[in-house]
Subunit: 399 residues, 2 copies
DNA sequence: CATCGTTTGTCTACCGAATAAACAAAGTTT
DNA sequence: AAACTTTGTTTATTCGGTAGACAAACGATG
């Protein structure tokens, strides 16, 4: 039994069926003829595959469409509500759960806030949220097709959370717990990886194949999409660019390293510096990013200078990213993206003055538009896609 | 006509034929039965594909092998001398040309030295070397199957050398010139990328899928092998880790950036510091890396301290690489690899003390064993592989 | 409104490639 | 020498895609 790479003819059918489905998914009112033309497959082949997909309820037919000078086509639609996906962004002090259809549209979401909870408490909230979303899921042929959870930490290839310092987690194996409880495939993914995928699917990165997503919150994590696919490294720990040294012999980091990027360019770095400057929260609460945003909004010079400094340091890391990856796109997301207005100028200045012309010529820096949703959407999309790529035979039986 | 991804049944045949060929290539005395077992293909299928490959002279049959309790198998061999590949390492002050068979064995090589030559002069030498190798190529069914050239600079996706500062090249389009002269496919590749591929194929990286090859000479270039494939970025300029900032607001680099890694950890950095320390060449010549190696060999404390410092800075970049890529292997190659003995300790110390346990637990740093040959061998291997993956029908006609 | 050309979608005949299984050839074991 | 093993070829079958015929549905045209 070849554990090897290449095979037989089932592969062809599976591949073509998948191709047909994706073609319909991308341009949803589509005729058989149109699909045949776009894919290069024979009309008959498309016809037969489409019929199977109809049986599996992954697509639907609707009435005839516009004629283009002949018989009117039967329109085919991707049946986005054949099943639903649950995507969770498990943050340090919040938990965002989304229920999406197979196309990634949000059907329902629930966000709760907390702080300093133990693992057990978080697990409890997590299950509450999943239950809530699960109970509200509309009837559909496949129901919940999977649950995805994005966490702010390193995740091993088999889904175990090895280390999530800001949560205080170490070697937490959440996957079997959730999988056992709900009996659907569960995907645990690093928050930045999931965010990168979310941006590629639903954000500004739709047409790019090499996307670097910088998730800058308390710390900095980076999701890498290389050649159109998430790159996770040999064990799943890639993208720890927050701990890339940008200042040899610089500040000590708890990771054991010195001069880590996130000590200079993260939300935490901003807050630390703000405190040193004597900037205080309006109330008596802990100072937050929102406070500083508000100050900058009313042109407080300290706040603006602070953002410029952080923007400059962000730029240093961005330049490194450009030199390392030569990406199509760089997207800055997570909490710090809310300060785009004041960060952008110095960041772009450093980029344009400190890299060679041919490196940044076709490159743009984007700030996330999905904002706080990229992780949840990304991990939901990963889950949905896993479902769609499962052997079709299985579906034929289930449906 | 689908420019799309998936197709028909020819794909299956091509894939399986390629699989059979590679199986034989990897374990060269192999029987049909063994191949069938390893690939999972049916005996009959293998038989028919093997017969085609025999006709195309890509494999050969030899007498019967050892019996394992039944009929003795007919042994199949990869016909490594069905064609030859030329791989050139075009360095700043040397030019190494190799003639290899399809397996990557060196049949002939020629190395010449020069310094400060104009582009025209280098092109002349290049052609002389290619002519020399080409004229000495043994008779074979396919002859020279391609020419590969590794250059120390950025190469665009279509093979144009955009910038090779140490050669003084800018927008040099060597590919059509060589292709026109010899009428075989020509591959221009960045020297570090080629080196990375060479290490994966013939060096210490054979079994790893994520390999980072650090080519540290005058400057530092890095070749990235991610998920088993060369990663070149969106336009082909990835791997410029030599210009990764490791010291914000550090030394100015001619690239426009500040604090670039190669200003602290390259051969050039070593030489600069050595000069500042008053270390001089034995003769009256320019100081070289070899001079400092010799000094360290006789335990000169200045030289040893210098290497330790450079090793430490190398370690900073290596740590960044670990955090960024989570690779299986890191290989340090090119000129600086000759100083392994004195660099290794501080480099590894920084790695072990400045990254988290789970990041370096399964990771080893290697110094290149192929030494000065990795680039030439790598680019020759890329060329040979391109040939082997060309449509087989074409070969049937040619042979 | 009948005819013609066009587009859509299905159906049939055919082909290429893989598989399973039978079979022949060549050895080994007892 | 008989029985079992392993190798490699051959044959029948199956599966999936393609080409092209065909029917249905529609617009344009006179």
């Amino acid at each position: 039994m070849g554990i090897n790479q290449t095979w037989n003819q089932f592969v062809v059918k599976k591949g073509n069926k998948s191709l047909v489905l994706h073609t319909i998914k991308v341009k949803s009112p589509s005729s058989r003829a149109e699909v045949a033309h776009k894919t290069g497959l024979n009309k008959g082949t498309v016809s037969s595959l489409v019929n199977e997909l109809l049986q599996e309820q992954l697509i639907t037919e609707s009435g005839p469409g516009q004629s283009s000078g002949g018989r009117r086509p039967v329109m085919l639609h991707f049946n986005q509500i054949a099943g639903f996906s649950i995507g969770i962004d498990l943050g340090v002090n919040y938990l965002l759960g989304t229920l999406t259809d197979l196309q990634g549209n949000i059907c329902l979401e629930k966000k709760i806030y907390y702080s300093q909870l133990s693992y057990e408490e978080i697990e409890k909230r997590l299950i509450e949220v999943i239950d809530y979303l699960s109970d509200s899921t509309p009837e559909s042929p496949y129901g919940i097709v999977g649950i995805g959870i994005g966490v702010p930490g390193t995740v091993s290839t088999n889904g175990e959370v090895l280390l999530a310092p800001n949560l205080g987690w170490k070697n937490v194996d959440l996957k079997p717990i959730i999988e056992g409880k709900y009996d659907v495939p569960v995907t645990i993914e690093n928050e930045a990886n999931a965010g990168a995928y979310g941006e590629k699917k639903f954000g500004v990165g739709t047409n790019a194949d090499n996307i670097i997503y910088i998730s800058a919150g308390i710390g900095i994590g980076v999701g890498l999409i290389l050649n159109g696919k998430l790159f996770k490294g040999s064990k799943g720990f890639s993208g720890e660019l927050g701990h890339m040294t940008i200042q040899a012999n610089g500040l000590k980091c708890r990771c054991g390293n010195e001069g880590c990027w996130e000590l200079y360019a993260s939300e935490q770095a901003l807050l630390n510096e703000a405190k040193q400057l004597g900037i205080q929260s309006k109330g008596n609460d802990e100072l937050t990013l929102e406070d500083i945003n508000e100050l900058a909004e009313v042109s407080n010079p300290d706040a603006i200078k602070l953002f410029e400094k952080i923007g400059d340091y962000l730029g240093i890391g961005v330049n490194n990213i450009i030199n390392i990856f030569n990406p199509d796109q760089i997207i800055i997301g997570n909490r710090i993206a809310t300060s785009e207005k004041w960060l952008k100028k110095t960041l772009e200045k450093r980029m344009k003055t400190h890299t060679l012309w041919y490196q940044h010529s076709d490159l743009n820096i984007y700030f996330s538009e999905l904002n706080t949703h990229s992780t949840a959407l990304g991990v939901a999309a990963i889950t949905a896609e896993k479902f769609l790529n499962v052997d079709f035979e299985k579906k034929a039986l289930e449906a």
